[in-house]
Point group: C2
Chain length 615, copies 2
């Protein structure tokens, strides 16, 4: 059976697809990033495409569930559920492309100019003889000079490899050369050797966004800019503490503990890299560069830096400036001369991942006013207006990850992710359409919003004890979302007063941060041109519910952009462009950081923001 | 008993000396380098001083033996044998100072300007507080900026140490900063952190000359330039091969073997460094910089670089350019951020040690014509004339180290080091005046010269079978230097025809090298203003004997300078001055290397030079 031709519009890429391959996999193999928050298992509805011509496999039940009837009528499909049955033309709606590519398509910025920090140079040398006694390295340096490049700097191990390689491979090699950063750290022309590879080898780069819970990883072809492989793995540090605060406490107990957090993380990355390489038929020696981002605590854990001072006021980082570290020093098994770039941290609780998020929003026109919100246990918020950036971090807690919620759970099959209350009747949608076993962050947010609309809770979060579905248990009111008999296996799922309170605290913290930044900038919510909601939960969350509980201001919905893992996108941009690294550094330097706990009006703002309701 | 004041002229230094301390030790403790080829055991006669005023301990038998009667009359003493009995004034003759200091005294050059590659900066910082949330590193960088220096570059391990140190030591530290090389490798102002030390710590440097047989090591105070400790240790690689050729063969057998040569060498240096540090009350963390020189094979062994290509024609180095390597990468236990500078190799058999020797001769006026000879198993020879340098290496063999000689031995107690034949009677002098057990390099050289003068051997090296003392053993003539009954313990020491032949080959190789370089330069021996004879054997050897056998041309003796370990002196100069590193690089680049085995007339030159006799 011949391959089908798939024409992706409006980005204008044609790809060949084997029969039976779903469109998401096919697009990703071709380096086209589609938003796929759930990783392609059909539960998030983010990888929407519209069929313009040709035939696809029939609609699946996941699609019937995730897509609205009018979307289905208009030809929308989920890329992860559909495979071509003929040559097809597909249209990718803007929201299905992650920030960088979307920005590009929307014409807000010219495409990213490929200018990676490591480039390939093929050399073919003459062998030594009595009339030409140049040292091996001098021989290579002369070839570099002929190519307009300066002499090599390399570790001894790599010089050793170079001499052996040249003799084995008939004095030819593909050299991976690290070119100076901008602004130059090395004199013009000095070339650092990242790897000695056989002629024709592809040069690869690794981008990692280290979340406290998950690591998102991308294997990128440095010459084409295509993402060859991607994946998420659990952060192994979870075994030593659910959140960074408890891990800091663990690290502070002993140097061994601190080392353990570092080595476990690096081992996990090495293992995942091995899997990626096997997947694309490459070797880890071809990974000649890496950009790794994370919150400040993850950054310090990863670098093995001290974290005592992150665990106690006034919470200062050991290092905030951008770092370039040898992969070998970190224990990362990449090319022997590979370096890892870690962009600047902004504060003790605003890390290089937020720098990367800010970088990924650079496609928006300079005169636009933006609010960027990256929701997690700590939520980082930036307001960008008239060339100024102010940023704060707010302790939103783990409620949106399903923690501290009585029946809370992570976004996994069986988790309630949407709730609708119509005429006193509760409707729930679960991930993977499994019987409900608990409720995840986006579920509890819609539940609270619906309970508020239905008058089950009041603006202060108290449950109306006489409302239908509310019962009193040990003197405390709680709302039954799914009764035992409705769940399919006898578990009930309820929302307690205390759950509601967790959501109040979380949304209050976020809204207080937003309000303070707007006040600092002298802005009203309606002055904001674009609300950029980043991160996994930010991609899943129901915007209307978030507005109804008052987490976000009641601005027009079309101004909100759920951009997915913008930190990962920013990391990839820095991998592909030295100019982006300079931009990131400049962005971080421009940020005016506001320490909320020291902000004069913080308590008032926070208490006000705890009230439920649109505003 | 009070200390005595010792006034050293013409260098104009006054030092305090405890009663009972010999003058050599006292001078060395004060950082005054005296030539002491034997290490201060009274057998080489190189540490001569003249007493100008005051009283010293009585003449020892070593002095009676080493000094000529007229020297004793004029007040000459050996520094290692004499201790003050009052305040004294002493004159140091030029030949008792190693090259660098001698040059300085002779007014050929201004004193070495202290400008080491690592300098101290004391910082006192304010602690973080809510109004000052700068990261630790940002805090240090701001202090550096205030001192006119650029931001720190450091390894993660060192950044970790920095944060911990600042908190422990009340936010004060002495930073050891590596300043950019000249010409700059880093942008103006970038400061690499070599160590974080308590306030007031001395910054130390290590210079090592790695000979195939011995390692000469110097611990230097970088702020004063004084040598605080010195010593020689055996090269542990001797267990794996007497000379570098056999070690190359050993290394080529397996990667493990190559690694073994590297690690054994580094362990030995680490151990010696530990001893030095204990001796001067310092810690290895204070050793913030190092310069290490050696022949090309030793350089490659030390760096763990491949040596296959050094063991087979056309004998090219893997690396000839100067290297800066992290001490940690080599396994050297110095300051955590210390680097090791290895000056340029010139060719496969002319290493960075010869570059250092050439550097140490830079005090001679630029218009002087020099011949520099560093004698070893391989002898490196340079001719310097009218701004041009030509260099060759010649395989002089191990005869001068006592190897391949029937009764040969290293220069150790009981070795014959001087021979005189008067009216058919043989007189020998042994090291430490012990009964003769063998003959060392300088001994065999004088023996052959005397045998030639006495007509026992002819210019072709044949023994006259009818000469007194010559006997025939298994059909081969040999000359009895010490009969069993004369040696004190029944061993006899003889010189065989084959021994004479070894000396012929050795001196012939050296002389052929000298002749070819002079021919290349269009010079006659009398055009040479100074003959610089470097190295341990070069310091011991009897110049007249060397001329009589024809190893050196019959130039006026006062033009010969036996400068001791000039490679060590050059290494120390590079440790104390960045400008000297640049000079060394430029010198190495200027060298025109002549590969003797490919030189058209080499065989004729060599055969001619094999004949004995002055010329």
């Amino acid at each position: 059976m011949p391959n089908f031709l798939v024409d992706l519009q409006p980005i204008g890429r044609r790809i060949e697809v084997q029969p039976g391959t779903d469109l998401l996999t096919a697009a990703q193999n071709a380096g086209v990033d589609l938003v796929a928050a759930c990783g392609g298992v059909g539960i998030c509805g983010t990888c929407k495409l519209r069929l313009a011509a040709g035939q696809l496999t029939p609609l699946t039940s996941s699609e019937e569930e995730q897509l609205r009837p009018e979307e289905i009528t208009r030809g929308y499909r989920l890329a992860c559920q559909a495979a071509p049955l003929s040559d097809v033309r597909l249209e990718i709606p803007p929201e299905s492309l992650p920030a960088a590519q979307r920005i590009q398509i929307e014409g807000r910025e010219s495409a990213l100019a490929l200018d990676p920090a490591v480039v390939a140079l093929d050399v073919a040398l003459s062998a030594p003889r009595l009339e030409d006694l140049r040292a091996d390295l001098a021989r290579v340096n002369d070839a570099l000079a002929a190519a307009g490049r300066g002499p090599l700097q390399a570790s001894l191990a790599l010089l050793d490899q170079l001499s052996a390689h040249l003799r084995r491979e008939g004095w030819t090699a593909r050299l991976a050369l690290r070119v100076p950063a901008l602004p130059v750290h090395l004199v013009e022309g000095d070339s650092q050797l990242a790897a000695v590879l056989p002629a024709g080898s592809r040069l690869l780069g690794l981008a990692v966004d280290m979340g406290s819970t998950k690591l998102a990883m991308y294997l990128v072809d440095l010459e084409s800019g295509f993402t060859l492989a991607r994946g998420g793995v659990m952060n192994p540090q979870i075994s030593y503490g659910e959140d960074v605060v408890s891990r800091i406490a663990f690290a502070n107990k002993s140097a061994d503990n601190r080392r353990l957090l570092q080595t476990r993380l690096v081992e996990t990355i090495n293992q995942a890299v091995g899997g990626f390489c096997a997947q694309v038929g490459a070797s880890a020696e071809q990974i000649v560069d890496a950009v790794i981002v994370g919150n400040t605590a993850m950054h310090h854990f990863f670098c093995g830096l001290p974290v005592e001072q992150l665990g106690a006021a006034p919470y200062v980082p050991a290092v905030s400036q951008p770092l370039d570290v040898r992969a070998e020093e970190l224990g990362l098994q990449l090319a022997p001369g590979a370096w890892v770039h870690l962009p600047a941290n902004i504060a003790g609780y605003v890390g290089g991942d937020h720098t990367a998020v800010l970088l990924a929003t650079q496609g928006y026109a300079a005169d636009q006013t933006l609010v960027v919100v990256d929701i997690g246990t700590n939520t980082e918020i930036s307001a960008v207006h008239a060339g100024r950036i102010v940023t704060c971090s707010t302790a939103s807690g783990p409620a949106f990850e399903g923690a501290h919620i009585r029946d809370g759970m992570r976004a996994a099959p069986g988790a309630i992710e949407r709730v609708r209350i119509e005429q006193g009747r509760v409707h729930v949608a679960t991930i993977a359409n499994q019987p409900a076993v608990g409720i995840c962050g986006s579920g509890i947010l819609t539940a609270v919003a619906e309970m508020l609309a239905a008058g089950i809770i009041d603006p202060r979060g108290s449950l109306r004890r006489d409302a239908p579905g509310v019962r009193v248990n040990n003197g405390k009111a709680e709302f039954v979302l799914v009764p035992p008999e409705g769940s399919g296996h006898g578990y009930e799922v309820v929302v307690t007063r205390s759950d509601v309170n967790e959501i109040q605290l979380a949304k209050g913290a976020i809204r207080a941060g937003i309000n303070i930044l707007l006040q600092e900038m002298g802005l009203r919510p309606e002055d904001v041109d674009a609300w950029i909601i980043a991160g996994a939960f930010g991609t899943y969350l129901d915007l209307r519910s978030a507005q109804r509980v008052g987490m976000f201001p009641a601005a027009p919905l079309e101004r909100f952009h759920q951009v997915g893992n913008a930190a990962g996108v920013g990391a990839k941009e820095m991998l592909l462009s030295r100019a982006r690294r300079v931009q990131a550094r400049q962005l971080a330097e421009r940020v005016g950081y506001i320490e909320l706990t020291a902000y004069p009006d913080f308590t008032r703002h926070f208490v006000e923001a705890m009230y439920f309701g649109e505003s």
